[in-house]
């Protein structure tokens, strides 16, 4: 026993040093994970905001480049288009780009709530679009509503795996949403979607509780499923 104790004391210093080194390495690893979460969150916000600036100018090819291979897109009541090629065709069709003289197509991307999964490979984001469109001298339109989008990291690059926009309101600037709200657009017969709309809902003055991807950040409570 005595021998072992002496042996233990002799070992103590290098062992302790190595243990401290291992602990430092573990702390570094934890910090690397934390920093990567912050970088991921920022990269996703950059992606989502870049989307808005490209849509402003009806740049369908730039928009499509932001999507993953198997991604889906579903805007308003138009139904679901599946895969990056169909996504590209969809944006080409729905926007009719590029922007021409006399056209306004502003899509402001605001109020991001981004949550990256613990494994750092996927993420969800809720955003708000504030939309101003029109043809000069002919029309001026407001639209607004939230996105609930999903993202995936492919070879270190964040892209959309799912874009889903819920139209809360659309209306001509004059007389405005309180007097002449526009109904939700239905799936196109000329360019039919690959899948029907996920939910049947009405935009304003109808009511609809858009699902939230996140729990209440204070209470952790999950909202009940929308009706």
């Amino acid at each position: 026993m005595v021998l072992i104790c002496v042996g233990g004391l002799a070992m103590a210093q290098p062992e302790a040093d190595l243990a401290r080194l291992a602990a430092l390495e573990a702390e570094l690893g934890a910090l690397e994970t934390e920093i990567e979460q912050l970088e991921d969150s920022k990269a996703i916000k950059r992606l989502q905001r870049a989307y808005g600036y490209y849509v402003d100018k009806k740049l369908a090819d730039e928009v499509a480049m932001l999507f993953a291979e198997d991604a889906t897109v579903e805007l308003g009541g138009l139904g679901i288009y599946v895969g990056r090629n169909r996504v590209a065709e969809f944006y080409d069709w729905v926007m009719g780009g590029p922007l021409e003289d006399g056209e306004l197509y502003n899509h402001m991307i605001l109020q991001g709530v981004v949550n990256v999964a613990e494994d750092g490979e996927t993420a969800n984001g809720r955003w708000r679009a504030l939309i101003q469109t029109g043809t000069n001298g002919e029309s001026a339109v407001w639209a607004e509503g939230p996105y609930e989008n999903e993202y995936i990291k492919e070879d270190g690059v964040w892209r959309f795996s799912k874009v889903r926009w819920y139209q809360t309101l659309a209306a001509a600037y004059d007389p405005g949403w309180h007097l002449e709200p526009m109904p939700l657009e239905q799936p196109s017969e000329a360019f039919p979607p690959d899948l029907p709309p996920t939910d049947i809902y009405e935009s304003f003055p109808g009511k609809f509780l858009t699902p939230f991807h996140y729990e209440n950040p204070v209470t952790g409570r999950t909202l009940p499923e929308a009706e």
Binding site: G8, Y53, D174
Partner: protein, 237 residues
């Protein structure tokens, strides 16, 4: 007890052997840890820079709202440039100062009956690798108005492509460039856009720029795309 003693001895032996194997690379492990720490410090600094620049630009908007021109001026580097819509380029603080004061008739601070909101939204900020300069695209929503005036209210919108510089550790605006897209009356909104309204807003009062407009973009109803400072973030190199 003998069993436990043997077990303990065996453990010590294993630990010692393992330690010996690891001990040879302990120095390397310290060096590797040091490199990881340095990389983390740089990544953390990038995030900090980005947040600081976003605060800078948002502060600009909040001061601009209230026409606090001296506060706005302090956000600029000495040789910064300012170019708003079709204003032309104002070079250096001494030139920017009279331009800003000219926007509000020579006074600073909020004016009763005058609304001058400039929302700063949708940032895409890119910090250079050396952490000394940066670019930022932003969008402004503008809400201006003169109280009691029938057509005195306006909506405005357009992106910025700005540049920033870090001087003595402090981020400043080195180039402010607003590509005003429209300024339209509240009545009717962007149904009938007249670019001359944007020109009048941009001109300020009684100053002339040091240089002509740096780019030949045209506001709505023309279709023009202010250049993007960044590559498509979904692009694969």
């Amino acid at each position: 007890m003998p069993h436990r003693l043997a077990h303990t001895l065996a453990l010590i032996l294993i630990v010692s052997v393992t330690d010996a194997a690891v001990a040879q690379s302990a120095g390397e492990r310290v060096e590797a840890a040091r490199a990881r720490l340095a990389a983390l410090e740089q990544r953390s600094a990038q995030i900090h820079d980005l947040n600081t620049i976003e605060n800078l630009q948002r502060s600009f908007g909040f001061y601009f709202d209230k026409m606090l021109w001296d506060e706005v001026l302090d956000l600029f580097a000495d040789d910064a440039t300012v170019e708003i819509g079709s204003s032309g380029v104002y070079v250096g603080k001494e030139s920017i100062r009279p331009y800003l004061y000219g926007l509000s008739g020579g006074v600073q601070g909020p004016i009763e009956g005058e609304l001058f909101e400039h929302l700063q939204l949708q940032p895409i900020v890119t910090v250079a690798d050396d952490g000394m300069s940066a670019n930022g695209r932003w969008r402004a929503i503008v809400m201006t108005g003169t109280s009691g005036s029938g057509s005195g209210g306006n909506w405005g919108e357009g992106p910025y492509e700005n540049e920033y510089i870090k001087e003595d550790g402090i981020w400043k605006i080195s180039r402010l460039r607003w590509f005003g897209n429209f300024l339209v009356p509240y009545e009717g909104g962007w149904l009938n856009a007249d670019p001359e309204m944007l020109d009048k807003y941009s001109e300020g009062g009684g100053t002339s720029p040091d240089q002509p407009s740096s780019t030949d973009y045209e506001p709505y109803p023309a279709a023009s795309t202010p250049p993007f400072h960044y590559e498509n973030p979904g692009r694969t190199d």
